[in-house]
């Protein structure tokens, strides 16, 4: 009686899981279209600085990323771009606890182990006479589990991360950061 009930629940759960697993994380339909969420992200990830010196801002960004442990991967000053990355530990005690408990029941999801964090900075002159520079930074991370498989690739969208980055940048260039 009890067994058949759990079985029924499992059978009901399965199509749900399959449906979820069926959707791709990136699709051609939605990922080349601008959405209001994307504009909201831009708002969070961008600040304006009162300066005409775009190169100086870009240089400071490079120095700031280096200060926070990033390595510079690619840059093109003429286009105002900079990309950087770093590898860090991603061990999470809670996930290990779930893993150990799960192993007893035969449903073990390997816990996170490493992560690659990426930063992508762009600068561009803005304002009527080009007297301001807009800086946008995007952070992303790739998480690997203990079996070196990619577990998660996600954009880091917590506004606090960006606030903290721009506060540091603002201090480093001795300029106030304005919202866009």
């Amino acid at each position: 009686m009890d067994m058949s009930r759990t079985l029924r629940i499992r059978v009901l759960l399965l199509p749900g899981l399959l449906l979820l697993a069926g959707c791709a994380a990136v699709t051609l339909d939605k990922d080349l279209n601008l959405t209001p969420e994307m504009f909201a992200q831009r708002q969070i990830q961008t600040r304006r600085f009162d300066t005409t010196d775009e190169q100086k801002i870009l240089k400071t960004c490079a120095a700031l990323l280096q200060d926070t442990g990033f390595n510079i991967d690619e840059s093109e000053t003429k286009l105002g771009i900079l990309t950087a990355s770093k590898e860090r530990d991603a061990t999470d005690a809670a996930q290990w606890a779930v893993f150990i408990v799960g192993s007893f029941f035969g449903v073990a999801i390997p816990p996170d182990k490493d992560q690659i964090m990426k930063a992508f900075v762009t600068t561009r002159p803005v304002g009527d006479s080009g007297n301001q520079v807009a800086v946008r930074v995007v952070f992303e991370r790739i998480v690997f589990d203990t079996e070196h498989r990619i577990k998660k690739i996600e954009a880091l969208s917590d506004p606090k991360i960006y606030q903290s980055f721009f506060e540091k940048l603002s201090k480093a260039v001795f300029l106030e950061a304005h919202d866009i």
């Binding site: 791709a24 699709t27 339909d29 831009r42 105002g80 990619i150 998660k152 690739i153």
Partner: protein
């Protein structure tokens, strides 16, 4: 007797293996499965500007807006490559990679061409490119013209 037949079968297998060895996936290096002219037209748009820097900056800004991470950019070559990959426990991991090139078209225009790759295959349908150029138009404040 049986072992003799077995030997013959084995001997016959060797040339088969050799033949199979000749079949490679090299032909994918210069993918020629769709009409190249048609594909080029799907992937290209002309803009009424000669400002290469501004155009490339608009392309990069658009890709950043769309959540792409930059892989490579070269002003002199007029090339930008960016990719967007996402994965989660409940979702199928997927990656979209785009290379955009900018070059002069006549005296007064720039030709922008985008090549997309999705899940290890080329993107040949027009709709995704249309979406990308629609997004780019907004950043360029210019109309994208279809070219033949």
């Amino acid at each position: 007797m049986i072992s003799d037949r077995f030997c013959k079968t084995l001997l016959m297998l060797i040339p088969l293996l050799l033949v199979a060895g000749c079949m490679t996936t090299h032909d994918r290096l210069l993918d020629m499965d769709t009409s190249q002219v048609q594909l080029r037209s799907i992937q290209s748009r002309a803009f009424d500007t000669t400002d290469k820097e501004k155009t490339m900056r608009a392309i990069i800004a658009t890709l950043q807006d769309l959540g792409f991470m930059l892989d490579r950019a070269d002003y002199t070559l007029g090339v930008v490559t960016a990719s967007k990959a996402r994965a989660d426990v409940m979702q199928v991991p997927a990656a979209l990679r785009v290379t955009v090139t900018v070059r002069p078209r006549g005296e007064k225009q720039l030709l922008v061409r985008a090549n997309a790759e999705y899940q290890r295959g080329p993107v040949t349908e027009p709709k995704p490119y249309q979406n990308f150029f629609n997004s780019l138009e907004k950043a360029m404040f210019l109309e994208a013209h279809q070219v033949d």
